[in-house]
């Protein structure tokens, strides 16, 4: 890890104005390091997606940003799609249903890397193989609805990394998938970050999923950053009561059953 990718100071995001104003992030101070895998966890409505959108410059017009987002390594603010890749929960919705997936990935590569059409197509094929879609050659021509949910999510990842972004943001990218597919996608993201030297922000409700591979975990609660610390430290000895509560509410295989074990 070598230095700071982006530095947030007093980051505040407000949706709407006047009576209807709602602060979705409040005074966030956080440095995101180059090459780290940062998990962002927190309850529904805590501001996780708002943070992702703010980093990508993708907030809707009714949102106001206060505070600073600095990108020390960039001459100009990074652009979503090129410098920042996004994978959302519902990949089916982020892919265009009437365009073959190969062309959707190739478009990103052409746009951001200035490749020719044949080059972009080769890159799309390589990316489909990279995300381990079986038979990439025929998958190039497949439409999203012809793929399973897990495969669509892999295609969305391929499209997100096609422009060689330095930051990949996965927002609940595996929440809608069953645990078997979920584990495969997490392993894939992990491997991509290692191999391509990308920074990963992994947003999730699921603290156990985050604990499996994150270098650092940031906990959001009610629009505020509760703590952001190395995963081992935070999980071993939560610095805040709220984090401890979140950890305690996790249900794992070793959680004692809530029922008496014998059959009724």
């Amino acid at each position: 890890m070598s230095g700071v990718l982006t530095s947030l100071r007093g980051l505040t995001v407000t949706y709407g104005s006047g009576e209807a104003a709602h602060m979705a992030l409040q005074g966030l101070d956080l440095d995101i390091l180059k090459g780290e895998r940062l998990a962002v966890i927190g309850e529904s409505g805590s501001g996780k997606s708002t943070l992702a959108l703010a980093l990508g410059g993708l907030l809707p017009p009714e949102a106001r940003i206060d505070g600073r987002i600095d990108w020390p390594g960039f001459a100009a603010p990074p652009r979503a799609g090129r410098d920042i890749g996004f994978v959302f929960q519902d990949a089916g919705a982020s892919l265009n249903p009437v365009i073959p997936v190969g062309r959707q990935i190739a478009e990103v590569a052409r746009l951001h890397l200035g490749l020719s059409r044949p080059e972009a197509r080769d890159r799309a094929r390589a990316l489909l193989a990279r995300v381990r879609i079986p038979d990439p050659d025929s998958a190039l021509a497949a439409y999203p609805h012809q793929l399973s949910g897990g495969q669509r999510q892999r295609v969305a990842i391929a499209a997100a990394i096609a422009g060689e972004p330095s930051l990949l943001i996965a927002d609940e990218a595996t929440s809608a998938l069953d645990t078997i597919v979920q584990a495969e996608i997490v392993a894939l993201l992990d491997e991509l970050v290692h191999a391509e030297g990308m920074t990963l922000i992994f947003i999730t409700h699921d603290i156990a999923l985050a604990s499996g591979f994150a270098d650092r975990i940031a906990v959001l609660h009610d629009a505020r950053l509760v703590e952001a610390r190395p995963a081992a430290e935070l999980l071993g000895a939560p610095g805040q009561a709220y984090t401890a509560r979140l950890l305690a509410s996790h249900i794992g295989l070793d959680t004692p059953p809530l029922i008496a074990e014998e059959q009724p």
Partner: protein, 268 residues
């Protein structure tokens, strides 16, 4: 062994769309005893929701029988079917989709009371307040539109609605999957308490094996329309016999506390 409350035998259901055939259910048999929770797990598309819906008679099976309290559900209709229906209720994953968006919490809870003639209009407000209380919600919530309560509150309203007919079996299809971990814990505690107090049985459908383990007496594992394994919850999780069971157990995200601590101390 007592006669099971619910017993399904040889259920088969094939979906046909655009020339493709998908076996939703392929010769499925399963029973649930009174007061028992059966956890139904399996990968996406394995047929869990299809089985839940067939039990509720929201989908007609191609073949097979469903017996509830010793009566063959398929042979019942009219009044007899309505009487049995009262005894089985269902809660879905996304309660907002199951409610009329303009309805208030009180409307949602009044429906089953009215349909099954369980409370006169004059008695309803008191009964609604009781139902809300049984799921840990304030009676003040009754006047609110359902879209104006939080997701966890909405899911509890859905459970309160299911309780209105005093059922013996509730089918829960991914009923806690969309909830926060903190709210999810509250709803699970509630379900377990209601079971203890009223002897309710649950068919608990989820793809989260750890959650299923925490609330189920027995677990059934589905894959591609078939039940590939059934057994006591602890046994299935500790020593799964089917390939699907092993894959599901292996894929459960684990809190890596000890592993990470070891790494941290090595790096120190």
């Amino acid at each position: 062994m007592r006669a099971p409350l619910l017993a399904v035998q040889g259920l088969t259901k094939t979906y046909r769309s655009g020339g493709r055939e998908v076996k939703g259910l392929d010769d499925v048999s399963l029973s649930v005893a009174a007061g028992e929770t059966i956890g139904l797990v399996g990968p996406s598309g394995s047929g869990k929701s299809t089985l839940a819906r067939v039990v509720m008679r929201l989908i007609e099976p191609d073949a097979g029988t469903i017996a509830f309290g010793g009566e063959n559900l398929g042979a019942l209709n009219g009044k007899a079917l309505r009487t049995v229906r009262k005894r089985i209720q269902m809660v879905f994953q996304d309660p907002s989709a199951a409610f009329n968006p303009r309805a208030t919490v009180a409307d949602v809870l009044a429906d089953p009371l009215r349909i099954h003639g369980l409370a006169s209009p004059a008695e309803r407000p008191r009964r609604i307040a009781q139902l809300l209380d049984s799921v840990g919600l304030s009676a003040n919530l009754a006047a609110r539109p359902v879209h104006a309560v939080s997701g966890g509150q909405r899911q509890r309203v859905a459970i309160a609605r299911a309780l209105a007919t005093e059922p013996e079996l509730i089918v829960l299809d991914e009923a806690v999957s969309a909830l926060d971990v903190t709210v999810r814990g509250q709803v699970l505690d509630l379900l377990v308490r209601l079971q203890r107090e009223r002897g309710l049985a649950y068919l608990f459908v989820s793809h989260d094996l750890a959650v299923v383990r925490a609330v189920s007496h027995r677990i059934a594992i589905m894959d591609r329309g078939r039940i590939v394994e059934t057994g006591p919850a602890g046994t299935v999780v500790a020593d799964p016999q089917s390939e699907t069971g092993r894959a599901l157990v292996a894929a459960i995200p684990r809190l890596h506390i000890s592993h990470l601590n070891r790494e941290a101390s090595q790096n120190a």
